[in-house]
Symmetry: D2
Subunit: 407 residues, 4 copies
């Protein structure tokens, strides 16, 4: 057993840390100042600082670090990339700067693994070059998306074409002016076995029939210029070659996409939690009331200790899940991945809640803490609610005792 | 012991319930549609529907119900008004419709109790008529406001004038175009005994030297057109008669203001919690996944039971505090009031969190639930953080055993 | 709404408080010294001090206070008796001293309501006189007793006799040398509608075929000389007149028995919690570490505040349930009674846990705190586990929205 | 980063698992049957099965595995022994069977590191041979032992002798008929610097002046025949050579003793938690109510998932602390060790609480679960209360930001 990172991971980690500290964090305010946001997404602009920082990071080789493929990406495995993902999570801006942000990273991984040469050339290469962005259209309003059999959007194969219909929301990334394509998940054959019904289709953002209805706010936040869109797909006709890996393989691809993606999400969440915790500690020492620093008042040291315990435990669990993914594959790591998906967002939410509380009125209005808080809350739903992941963990546990896994 | 409401309370309660259900709630969307909001507060407008509904409510006598004074108000005592406040809390719009919203209600009460005839005529009467609004300027940035000795803003008496200087924030209500005056709390004599240093001053919103710097968002929300302002008071000169009850009585008045105000806040919070809980239950029965209503999946019934237990207990505690206030006065009810200030906002936050969770992606974007969630979170800081109120409760408890009350 | 106790309740309450403080608590150690306990229940003896104190209490009229019937008992209704029950719960010894302990109080109430004249004369009168004790045999090993349809013990009517067979455990009170009879619950007609199958039978403790197999320890505690027995009923033949209220009414009687009994249990639990809390506060002020009383170290004041909030809320909920029982009957108060059965034991367990913790090593070995802790833990199972009561609360809540109440 | 155990650790682990499953667990009842226990400790006897199993284990080389020293012990480092300690924690009997139980293991380690040749020959060798047992006398009644400056017992050097006086309790292991010596911690020079005042002294159990006053029960449990004694040391005179490593080094030795000992305690606690969790799952599948296995009722799957998350996280944290101890020494691992001392006992307590709850009435009386529950509760105090360890974690955290560490 060894808790030290590999030499290569350690090396890259230090570079990324330095870049985040020296180049990215000092430009948080630049970014906010340059941003054109608000509910009207058609006016959104990408702050120029993003592209500048991307060029710098790419020049240093700090680019596509998430991609274990050594031809297209950095060739780091999950356990090596995990601590790097954590560091990028400290800054709302860093993931994109390193071209490691969701959903592009997951979309890239799908294309690396399942894409045809043509698909790779058209979509993967510019995505990895950072010249375009993408979105992922899976969740639907009006049904419980955690039960895949509820999905109503369709992608029927008609002759040489695939025809898409349906309403999606939480299509994250669709608001970005650079968003060039969506990966769309829909039902191709409702009569097929449960896990062979769906297909994944590459949809150009400007394909006729694709219509963004609105951007959906998260607790009032629009995440500009990224955005979470409600999108109507209305008889969108595409060549059949737009289907990734062929009809009926959507579920299989989705499963594979989720493992590493959840590791990334969770490690970034823990990076955010660690940053919020740092703010908490600084405030505890820096602010005085009743003649003493807040650290010496009431239960604040217990709060600090408990936050440290929670973050460290969640991080170890996530690193172990990354290791399990590396050594046992996605099937072998399923319960581990479900476990961290419950733990990490909750840690982020609760640590940030405590950090806001110790900041008093200021905490209610601090953009960094507020964003972490909304993120933590949202991640408890995004990519499957806590409840569904707890069910997976319990089913896996009870299976050891012969249970077949009830609903 | 009798848990039934008085006949009069019951009667008014039913009228208020009917009005909220039939007249106010159906206009929530009207209000949102009419609202001009956004970060630029100078463009804010009051939705016309508000004034229409106010006229209706006033016509039915459902007006100034919060005011126990029977000359100026409805003459209901705290325990009778408490359940009415709860019902108004179900709707973000209702408190103002009945002219019962903060901080106007607290400001009115201060004026009824401590105002001179001239002050009453100029400010109280239009406030109670609903033709003007007001704000309360106490909290300051850069210091821990929960420790009153930290206050830096001053209101010096110079000859016949009182001169105000200082920076305030979370001056709630200052964004409203109808806001006509502030009640300002500042230090008059820093050498006086601790509880005789402060004064409360009535400040016309358009007094020279009063400058709104910005509106402070709460977790990204501006609460338009109410708003929480950061306000600079720069050598604001007013006649000495603007001081309420004379110099040095600010702390005393503030204490008296807080008792009923906290009861109102808490009861409204519980009304909001009850509404969120209703939404939770409706969703639990109405949404199906894995072949069953959510109510029959996993721990949802436990969540429902626990929410019911939490709300009911918090309500009883708040009603008892109202009764204590009626029967023992503010001094006798201090620990009771501190207790509810801890309990009720936490219940609102946690019940709403659960309601959002069961709504899945929709819950992340539901305006009603999101607002309740932000409100619950903010109330854990507003009017004193949980930590300070817990200290009050503990000090009161330990005093029974001879403790003098450490910090 | 009025949170004050009635004059009569207040008067009796003060007498009971005085008696507990001045007469009962000073004899706790006497009782422990006189007790002959240990796993071998056949050697158990009742400490003589109990009977002495009973005589005193009876002489003062502080006797059978639990019984709302004004012929047989004190004629106090539930809301009046509730605060008295709380005070008796402070002392492990007090409930019996006032002849108000379970299961005798519940058994007496059953007999008052449903007993024949002959049954009353033979069993009720000596029970109310305090000359005999009794037990209640319902729970069975090997099946989930919270689901009444699981019950396996039988009481068949054969001619003029009723014949009992089955194995019971947690038959509380059976270890007492004075235990003269059991109330036994069994199935008379398995083909009857679900709520008409069971009967309650009065069984003399020395009836042939009744065999105590062992006393069941609770977390290692035997509760001597009360005891929780595992009892074999082996072809126990009794006259048919031993059935209370006639065959098939067992379920109905059991339901009625549970309402007031749960109020008593919960109020006593809160009395115990209040006593543990007092010990916690005294320790917090009396013990010094690192130069300060424990009250001024770390989060202890938060712990104190939270305990006060929890106890007060639980008490109010329980008092309201008592009031609901008085004003709406058992059917109307069902959800209220289920609610308190969840809340009060959990409060006792957690407050006592905190009280033990602040006592350090001493807390691990303090007989009073240890007993409260075991009691709190056990009450979360006894008389229905938390889970079952939460289900009841949730079903009641969802029924408001049209749900028929799933399992 | 690698979460796999070393080959050697894996090999020994499998042997230990097999032995616990096949040889130890089947004799749990034998042990209970052979035990002579009860409050009167002078009658306690060691069940013969213990010595039989010890011989077997020793014969297989599964002996003194805890001792990293490769001359006296197995030579496994902390991270290798940790998973083995976990497995022994599943069985109350296993630690002693492998000669790895507290406080003997800690005492042996002290002697290996600091003992003179003579001390090793007289006490260490028979201890490692398993022919004697030992006790550790540190905690004192009447003072807060978590603050070492409170210690009142003395061991004065007078000429060639050291003279011990004082009252100790929670002297664990002193009840064992085989207990041959105590390690005693007392003050030698109260005027020395804070960490040079204390000495550790080897005291033969039969030394004149040593008097066991009673065995202290833990929540009513005596832990026979181990026992936790209250011991009077009354002018106990021993040769000066009985002091370990010389006068004034007691604090230093105690610090070194605590690191590995806490790892062992925590891993055993997690082994117990894992066993309780297994029982929980088996019960969830095996018991039926309302027509379904308990696993499919209410929130039981959430409880199962949460227990798995809690145990796994606590285990990872403890393994990392073991690794930190191996790679950075005791000083470098201090905060890590404090962290696990908070986490692991709480996990044991809460998982066992859930396991008991799902067992209903049976859970209240199950010897295995009850013992785990008492153990978990007691470990939150033993070896320093949670509060003190949280302070250590917080101080370590705040030191990163320049704090000097308040009390």
């Amino acid at each position: 057993m060894d808790f030290a990172h590999s030499e290569r991971a350690q090396l890259v980690l230090e570079q990324v840390e330095r870049f985040v500290t020296e180049r990215v964090e000092p430009h948080h305010q630049t970014y906010r100042d340059q941003l054109v946001g608000g509910p009207d997404w058609t006016r959104w602009k990408v702050p120029p600082i993003v592209e500048e920082l991307k060029q710098e990071a790419r020049g240093l080789g700090l680019w596509n670090l998430f991609l274990p493929d050594s031809v297209y990406g950095a060739g780091l495995d999950n356990r090596d990339y995990a601590p790097i993902a954590e560091v990028t999570g400290r800054s709302f801006l860093a993931p994109e700067v390193f071209n490691c942000n969701a959903p592009d990273s997951g979309n890239a991984e799908v294309l690396v693994r399942y894409g045809s040469d043509q698909q790779k050339e058209r979509w993967l290469e510019p995505l990895l070059a950072g010249t375009i962005r993408s979105a992922f259209a899976m969740t639907e309003p009006a049904v419980a998306s955690s039960d895949a059999t509820n999905m109503q959007a369709t992608c029927e194969v008609v002759g040489d074409e695939v025809v898409l219909n349906g309403l999606k929301w939480w299509t994250s990334g669709a608001g970005d002016p650079r968003c060039a394509f969506y990966i769309f998940l829909g039902v191709t054959d409702p009569t097929a076995p449960r896990h062979r019904r769906h297909s994944m289709v590459l949809v150009p953002a400007d394909a006729p029939g694709v219509k963004i209805l609105r951007m959906v706010p998260v607790l009032g936040h629009y995440d500009e210029p990224h955005g979470h869109a409600e999108v109507q797909f209305d008889d969108v006709r595409l060549p059949k070659s737009s289907i990734i890996a062929g009809p009926g393989r959507g579920f299989e691809i989705a499963q594979g996409r989720l493992g590493p993606g959840r590791i990334h999400h969770c490690m970034r969440a823990l990076g955010a939690a660690e940053r919020a915790f740092q703010r908490l500690c600084e405030r505890a020492l820096g602010r005085v009331a009743f003649g003493r620093p807040l650290a010496d008042l009431g239960g604040n040291r217990d709060i600090i200790a408990n936050a440290r315990l929670a973050i460290d435990q969640a991080r170890l669990l996530t690193l172990r899940a990354a290791w399990a993914l590396d050594t046992q594959g996605i099937a072998g790591a399923r319960a581990d991945v479900a476990a961290i998906k419950v733990v990490a967002p909750n840690v982020l939410q609760s640590v940030t809640d405590a950090a806001m509380q110790i900041h008093g009125g200021e905490g209610m209005s601090d953009p960094e803490l507020n964003w972490f808080y909304v993120l933590g809350r949202a991640l408890r739903i995004a990519d499957g609610p806590d409840e569904v992941h707890r069910r997976t963990v319990a089913r896996h546990e009870l299976a050891k005792y012969g249970d077949r896994g009830a609903t």
